[in-house]
Structures are given as structure tokens and as C-alpha cells.
Point group: D2
Amino acid sequence: MEKIKVGILGATGAVGQRFIQLLENHPWFEVSFLVASQKSAGKLYKDAVKWKLETPIPEKVKDLFIYDISNLNTNGAKILFSGLDSSVAGEVEEFYAKNGYIIISNSKNHRMVENVPLLIPEINYEHINLIKHQNYKGAIITNPNCSATFFTLVCGILNKKWPIELINVVTMQAISGAGYPGIASYDILGNVVPYISGEESKMETEPQKMMGKLDNGKIIYENIIISASANRVAVIDGHTESVSISFKEGVPTIEELKNELRNFESPIFKMNLPTAVKFPVRVMEEEDRPQPRLDINFEKGMAVSVGRIRKDNIFDYKMTILGHNTIKGAAGAAILNAELFVYLFNEKLK
Amino acid sequence: MEKIKVGILGATGAVGQRFIQLLENHPWFEVSFLVASQKSAGKLYKDAVKWKLETPIPEKVKDLFIYDISNLNTNGAKILFSGLDSSVAGEVEEFYAKNGYIIISNSKNHRMVENVPLLIPEINYEHINLIKHQNYKGAIITNPNCSATFFTLVCGILNKKWPIELINVVTMQAISGAGYPGIASYDILGNVVPYISGEESKMETEPQKMMGKLDNGKIIYENIIISASANRVAVIDGHTESVSISFKEGVPTIEELKNELRNFESPIFKMNLPTAVKFPVRVMEEEDRPQPRLDINFEKGMAVSVGRIRKDNIFDYKMTILGHNTIKGAAGAAILNAELFVYLFNEKLK
Amino acid sequence: MEKIKVGILGATGAVGQRFIQLLENHPWFEVSFLVASQKSAGKLYKDAVKWKLETPIPEKVKDLFIYDISNLNTNGAKILFSGLDSSVAGEVEEFYAKNGYIIISNSKNHRMVENVPLLIPEINYEHINLIKHQNYKGAIITNPNCSATFFTLVCGILNKKWPIELINVVTMQAISGAGYPGIASYDILGNVVPYISGEESKMETEPQKMMGKLDNGKIIYENIIISASANRVAVIDGHTESVSISFKEGVPTIEELKNELRNFESPIFKMNLPTAVKFPVRVMEEEDRPQPRLDINFEKGMAVSVGRIRKDNIFDYKMTILGHNTIKGAAGAAILNAELFVYLFNEKLK
Amino acid sequence: MEKIKVGILGATGAVGQRFIQLLENHPWFEVSFLVASQKSAGKLYKDAVKWKLETPIPEKVKDLFIYDISNLNTNGAKILFSGLDSSVAGEVEEFYAKNGYIIISNSKNHRMVENVPLLIPEINYEHINLIKHQNYKGAIITNPNCSATFFTLVCGILNKKWPIELINVVTMQAISGAGYPGIASYDILGNVVPYISGEESKMETEPQKMMGKLDNGKIIYENIIISASANRVAVIDGHTESVSISFKEGVPTIEELKNELRNFESPIFKMNLPTAVKFPVRVMEEEDRPQPRLDINFEKGMAVSVGRIRKDNIFDYKMTILGHNTIKGAAGAAILNAELFVYLFNEKLK
């Protein structure tokens, strides 16, 4: 089978690099088109990028030319992954969507726009049908904020069976979430920074849309009250979340709750999407897990780990949730969204 | 004035070292007696200790002889600071208390015992009168778990004016809280460990005693529901706490709440205790403070910093609280307790 | 082909765990026998081990029984990998060697013994023939100290062409080199410790043996003067070495030197050993490489990276050398030695 | 006595902040004038600075107005400390020097200029007389690169008694040396970066000037061969140096060498300079010291610690040297230079 050509918007940035790394041996996709800012446009990728990942730059991408953000000659790529900075993502993504391209975006700009799907496909893949109501010749599909992803996946599974009323989440987030150069070493080494700009409001609003129901081409937001506190810690990759939840009614036993999570089979797994994981949540029983250093790479970073599930004095339950912020929380999530799009809307690529 | 001679139980441990450091130039106290385990007993302090603090071993302590834990020849010391490991603290502290010594303990063993004062003297110094009801010839006075200290000081101040119903606290705790050698570097470097043995239950129970009222020689526990989640992070000193609170009734405005904290004058400050701080809580307005690296040494580590005070979606307010875990949360707290004892029960030392 | 059964001595320790991880899908070897200290003996592996690696315990090993160190019923294993602590390795390894087992040891105890091969097989695989002169029914084969491995591989290649006179090496070593629990976090977080017990003398003596020539069943030590200074830094895996060298005569040009390293083909690669790498040295041209976080996993941790090769004011050249201390510097090295043994002495396993 | 008014060029930067911190309670100097780049000029200091030190902004400086770099209305300040970035320091420092100001600079720009003193006053305070040969109405006085400072102080003391021939130095440098924001956390957390731009050449050239002799208004450079390798490690403050030295002739015994260092009395101490330390070198005997976390604050960061002094296989001796890079290696060094200037050239301030 001939691979589907794809492009990367924001190819030299932290998320762009992760896209390129994860797509290196992707069975469906092949990177053929790169876009970056003025500073890098006009150069070869290997000359423009300050590559920061543990695996080398893929050979096939090294010598790709970098185009600027208004280029429509995409070398056959119809799907464009966007890791653009939010300062430009809004305009650039719309430009390409209007011109017929499928934008699979990790940026925040369009996430809360009415007709734009905001997907954690394990819990709301059907939201992708919102694109039928978009006014673009192409489409825009988004994945959520990394910190919102992990607890929303867990809560979204539970919420289908036992409606949730309250979620309190306190995060300990990795530095890679801030991009590159991101946070100065002088600020975070041996330290905790109890603030991440804009992060808490994303965690408090995106989940309602994601857990909402698609009804007549619109999302009816789920009515859950969320409180989020975001902290940065000296961890490279992996966001740890201390999460407390209360149910509206019908509180499950702790074993019911664990079983629901550990037995939850991703509904998109049977579509044979290359990046989909059958059991997207791992329930850990060790008293001191999950931990970012030991657990983020479970299922190649596409699953979420939950541990320390226990009864709470104030809420019904509390637990620790961990996910890989630049894979399941960013580039990997977007790639899964693209696979879902190809599976369901294959004709759009013709 | 001649200084009061004091001893250190557990002199070579992490808390013991901090006692010795903080007492180096203390205007009232002078270290004259050291006790440690079999391994160190019989040696000079400088030969037995693996000193781990940034200032050198005080000259006067270097050559003190280390006694074993059943020695009653205390070289004139009547007040004994205990940084003993909880595996031996119970028995050893009682032994000395029975023999007429005043035990100022940082260990957990006697904290929840009925007639033992558990003090954050800024909010409950009158609890020290519990010692009148002890059956020791001497006395045992304790300070709380380090993580319990910081939010209880803040909540204790507020609770006097606006009774608190709920406290949810998620900690990011420094490695020095685990003593020495404590947590292996392989476990915490670039990592978060979402578990600290026994810590959460201390945080959920000690505050009710500390915020309780002394009535007829007994403490009537305060009725507040507390939920605590403890995490270890790669920070040397300083526990950061993400705290949410709800009041029973009469919710203050945010300005009332901040003013109450920032204007709270420690009732023991007027006693002229050397270690007492006039304003034990600092309210910070910067959006990204407090941070352990920048803020733990405020008021020589004896004050607590509070920042990011804001309205919450679930609770009434949430905020970030920071304290120095081995000073205000351990050795410094004990020294303040000793000063309080000397001020109020001076005759007992005769 | 049926796999060769192997055992692990010291199975629960840091090196033992790495052995088990690296052998999980090994095409030749299958772990069938585990030995550990009294504390763990008699338990199942999954119950005894405090597993610290990022991949889960291999399924096939989880339920293996742990034997104590005098057990000769090895469940078919004839090759025994030793990650034993040096306090017991000497005796235990000899015990098994005398009883006919092939000991592939990472421990220091036998490295400098006359008839024991000390192998970096890329440069001295023929030393393995020393085992013909051992008085064991079985044999003992060793790999060097991790820090000695990396610069000796590089210098060993160069020394064959241009005899080396002096080597000055200053290391910045990862914490995993200290085993588990190893160095306390309180000692190394945000710190450098300029001392590692016994390390410098190993680096100053083992290379002479390894670069020596096998002559009539004896090693004639190479005459090179080495000075080593060992430092511990806050890195999980990967030893970085700042190395300066002078040649005895015939100094190569910088390009000759780089070409010799980058084109050096491992003589054991053509034996088709599963763990052998064709080009065991990578020469990097970026001015700020190699770095442990980015470069230790090159060739699955079995190659060494060299960068910043430049002329020196005192020595002829200086450079930065990096290797994965628990793979190429320990467990991976031992596995390669075992493969070499199987290739050359296959009949001994019958 | 009325204090001498001083200004800070580059007041908002990392070195500028350290100047302001260290001068807070200085007995001779009082900060009255601040200069910073366009971005900050025109604002009050407290509004422009992103303060990063553990002590609060001094009250007296908080509300000082920030001027731009061509302002000559210095509010009475005649001595100007420069922590300017090297991209502008050259021009700005000359501008002020020409206009009669005494520039005490930490920047590299003028260090190697013929008539500019490059001072470690403990070993070469008489070099300050070079200013008599400057063509400025004012003067420029510099202190060396931080990494050059520490080993040059130690070697400079030894060299006076036993001439040194060779110095090999490998550094492990703190992140604060890179200024703010400096090195990205993503680059250094859990890592070593074996390269610091421009650092090695400063370490290889500045010492010859500093150890040189002042002869007829010129410095005759000392003839010592130096090789430097610079590494960045995850440490906040404190550069650790692994140093090897050979003497030209007359090698001292190890005890002679240690005694020379530990008994070396700073020749400027008797001038009663507030920042001068009597014994600027501490010799440590513990096998694992000095360490940045424990030892940088010795003598308020103005002394250098030396440990692990031992015989070497290649050089005569090797040792570990540690200094506080932003105090003795930067701002503290400059303040000491200013004190020396005031002591010797007091009339110039009239």
C-alpha cells in the first residue's frame, strides 16, 4: 500500500519533532512536507532544527525542505499535523483548512470552537463527525491540552457508567510540556513552580466538551464541576495528577471502579488503527506507582496509568493518574486522531 | 545570663543535625549533652556524625561525647530535644520524661497521646498546659508532622474567625523530609513518587487536635474533614502544598481572607521568644509564588508563605502553601516549643 | 533452535535486573535459574525484587524461584551471569566455576586475576583463550569497570595503530553506577560528588591488562600511564568522560584519528553475535555532544559516542567520551562476552 | 561615614541582581544608580526586574529608577559595577570610563586589554596600578572568568613558591554561570553538556595574565601551559574543577603544598577591605569534598575550597577545586576589586 503523505506545521518545534519521530516508521503515513516559521523556512530540516530527542532525526526527513506558513504546494500531503505555536496556529490552520487540507492540530486555538471536534477517541471518537458541519473545504480536528487528556480519559470512562459530579485535580507537570527552550533550568532545578499560564482554565473547560454528547451536529457539554491546580516539577516527560472525584449518584465500589478502568476496551481498537491501544488505562496496585520515570512509556506512551485508587474523606475516591505528555498528551494523540479520520473519512483524501 | 543546658536525642540524624545547627548561637540554650544509637555512642560527635548541612559543625559541639540512650548523667541538661527515629522514640522519650526531663520531641510517637501537647504555638500555645496533666516527673511536648504544620498554621488562623469545614491538600514534599539516607537518588531524580508512608494519615488527623480547644485539661478535637495526598519531588528542602478549603458558614471575601493571614500577629511574639516571628504567614501576590528554591528561608525558615489565593469551583478557596520542612516543620518548631516552655514553666527547670 | 538456558547470580540487584531485562527476547539465551542472597532466596522473583527499570519484569521470569548461593541444581543453566556484590562474588563465582559452570561476571573480584580474561571483545576478544589456562572445571570471564570500558575501547582502537603513552580521564558518572539504593538523593541532587570509592584505581589498572597482548597463555600488560579522577553527577544513566591522550610516537592528524574510530569495524561482528555492533564507536561532530540524555541509547546502548575531538595544549588530543554504564558498561558487556564464549567454545556447553 | 554611591550597569541581569544583593548592607557602598537595556529603562527597579535570588529585593533599591545606557546623570555614583552582557559591555564601559567613571567590570570585553588590570587581588592586587597607564578620565578594572578564578587563585599561590609548568583543568559548572534564562531545563536536567561557548579559551589565557608580573607599567605574562575542558552540570551555584598540575622544578611534598595553601594569608586582608577574607583557600581532608551543595558558602562564598589533593601518575598533583561562581567568581570578586580601588586610589573619588 502506498503511504499517505502528510505534512508537519511547526516542524522544528518540540511537538513538531515528536511528530516526526513518531511518524518515522508509521505504516500509513509518510512525512513529505514541512512548514516552519520565517527563521527556518528555506532551509533543509537538518540545518534548521535543533533536534532534542533521544533518537536521531529520521533519515527521510533530514533533507526535506522547510516551507513557510503560506505555502500550498504541499508535495502531495493532504493531512497536516499542526504543532504550531498558538500565536500563529489560529490563522495558519484556518488558511490550510479553507484550502482543502485536513488539519490535525495539537494547538489550543480551535479546541473550543463549536464545530471543531476535540477528541480523546477512546471516549468520544464519534465527535469527529462535527467536521461535517465545518465550513472548510478541508477540516480541523483537535486533541486536548495534555493535562486535560489524562484525567479526562479516566473520568470519561467512569462517567459513562456512573455520572461524575466533581473532579479536583492537582498536577505535577513535566518541563517538556513547556516546549523548547521552555522553562529555564534556573527556575525549575530542585524546585516546584506552582503556576502554568493558562493551564488550569483549559483543564477546567475542555473536559466538559469532550465528555459531552453529540446531538444533531452539536456538542451538549457535560455538566461536571472541575477544579484544577497546575504545578511544574523537575521531570523531563510525564504529567502526574492527583485526582479526586465524586459521582452524582450510584457510587461504585472500589473494585467495580478498578475493573471498569482495567477492562475498558478502546472502541477504536477494532478499527485497527496503528496507534490505538486495546486497553488504554492501566490500573496499578503498587502503593507507590505510577511514577513518571518508570511508567510513562507503557504501551509506547499511548496508555494512561492509574494508581493509588482509594476512598477519600471529602470526595468519593482519589487516585494518581500519569500520562506521557508529549505522546498521549500531544503528538501521539494527534496521530491517533489522523488515523481515525482516515478510517472514517477515507473518501475525503481522494 | 547563663545559658540553659540542653541535650539532643538522636544527635547524629538529619533532625538532630538541624537542632545542633539552629542552636549554635541560640541566646538561651547551649548544647551540652548528646545521645545517639549504639553505633555512635562512645565517640566524639565529630567522629560519629556524617554532617550534611551547609554550615560547619559548631565548634562547641564537635568534641562533645555521645552517650547511649539510657544515660541519665546529662551534663546539666534538663531540656532534651528529640529527633529520634520513631522506632525508638516512644520508649526513650518516656524514659527521660519519667526521670524528670523535659522532652521537646519532633517524633510522631506521642503526638496523638491524650495529655501530650501537639503545638503550633502561633495558633494553640495554650495547649502546652496539657503537661500539667501528664504523669511524668518531667514532660513531653511535641510538634506536628512537617506537612501538617504548614496548612494547619494557615487554616488554624482562618478557622478562628471563619470555621472551616473541609480541607483538601496535595503535597509536593522535599527529600530532606525522609531523613538521611532517606530516598535513593535512583528513585527521585527526574521523578515524582506519589506516596510517602504514613504521611497522609498524619495530615488528616493531627490538625483536628491542633485546632481543637483545651477544655478542662482535655482537647476537644475540631470537627474538620481533611483529605491529604502526599507526593515526593526532587527538591532538597521545602514542602509545597496545593490546598483547597471550604468554610462552614460565613465565607470571607478574598481580601478579608488575605488580610486576616497577612495581619495575623503571633500571640507568642510578645513573649520575646528568640525564635518567634511576629507575622508567621506571608501572603504573596506574584502569580508563580511561593516556590521552594526562592521562598523557604523567609524569616529564617520560621514563617509560612501563601500564594495564588483564589476562588475555587468546588471549594470556597484554593491556594499554594510553602514551608521549610526541617525548620518550621521540624527542628525550628521544636526549639520554639522549648522557648515557650521556658517562658511559661521556668520554675520547672530549677 | 532450542535456547541455551542461563542463570543470574545476584538476580534482584541493579545489574541483575538489567541482565534480566536485556535477556528478555535474546535469540540464544533464556533465563531459567536465579540466585540471590538469603533475604530473597526461597521467594518467587516477582515477590522478592524491587524492580526499578522502565520496562516491566519479563513474564517468564516473574514466577521463577530464587535459589540461594550454594545451589547447584541450576535447572539446566550452564552459563551463569554474575551481578553479585563484590563482598560475595569472589567466593560464589569460584564455587560455581569449580563445579563446571561458565561464569560471565560483571564483578570486580576476578578481573585482575592472571588467567581470567578481562574483555572488551571489540579490542581484545582473543584474551578469552585465557580460560584454557584456568584450573576450573568451568570458567570465569569478566568485563571491566564501567568507566574503564568507555575510554579503553576508544584508546584500544587507537593504540593498535598509534601506540598511546598517556591517558588522563576525568569522569562525570551516573548514579545507576552505584547500584540500588546507591547514593542518597540528599547527597547528589543539585550536586557533584568528587569521589567514588575504588573507581579511580580500577580505571588506572584494568586498561593495561585489556590492551595487553596474549602471549603464551599470559597477558603482557600494555605500558600506558593512566590518571583517573572520578566524579558523581545527577544523571540517571550514562558516564561522561573528559579524556586527554598522548601518543608515544607518530601522532595521527585529527582526521586520521576520527576516521580510525568511525571506520573501526568490530572484529566480532562477523561472528554474528546478537549483541555485537558493527561500528562500536560513533564520532560526533556537533560541538556540544555527546550528552547522556540524548546519546546513551545509540545502538541500544552497546556503542560508545566520542565528540569534541580536538588538539590539546598539554596532551596530543582531548575529547569527550560517553557510554551507557549499565549496558555497554555492565550487563550488555557481559552478555556479549557470553555470546563470544558460545561462538568459540560451543563444545564446552555440551 | 557617608557611604560611597555606586551604580550598577546591567542591573536587571543575573550578575546585576547579585551585585545588588551583596551590596545591600555593604559598609562602604550604597547603590544609587541603575542602568539597564531599553526594555527596562524608564521603569522602577521592582517593576522591571524578574528577581531570582533567595533574599528579597533590597528595600532601598526597589524604587530606584532605571536609566538607559547613555545616561551620565548618575545620582552621585562614581563607581559603576558592570554586569553588562558582552554584546554591549565593551562600548558602554568605555563610554563611562572616558567620562570619568570607575568601571568595575565582570564582563569579558576588556579583560585582556593591555592596560586593564585583571585581578584576583589575593595573588596580584598590585596589577591595579595598570590603571595609571589607561587613557580614560576614569578607569576600567576587571575580574576574571568564574572558572578561571578558582584554579588560578590556588595555582597563583603555589606558583609564587614553586613555579608551575602545566595545568590541566576539567570543569563541572553550575547553570547560574549562564545567566538568566541561560540554559534550558530540557537541556540540563539529568544531563551533562560537555561544552560552554568561549569558556575554555578564557581559562587557557586569562591565568597567564593574572599570574604575570607587573613590570614598568606592563604585564609580563607567566609562561604556564594550560588545558581546559568545560562541562555544564545540573547544579545551581558552584563550579567544581578537577585540576592536575606539574611544577617546573622543585616539587613540594604534599604536606608542603597543603600548608602553603591553608596558611596563605591574603595580602589585602590587612587593608581591612570589608569583603576580603584572611585565608582565601580552605584545604579539606574529607575524601569526598568539596561539594557544591555543602561547600560553596564558606566565607560567604568568597573563599575557594580544595580537596582530594593527591599524587598523580602523569602530573605532579591532582585535586578538586570548588568556588561560588556568582560570588567569588563574579559579583563578589568585583566588589572586592572596588574596595581595593577605594583603599588605594581614594583621591580619585573626590
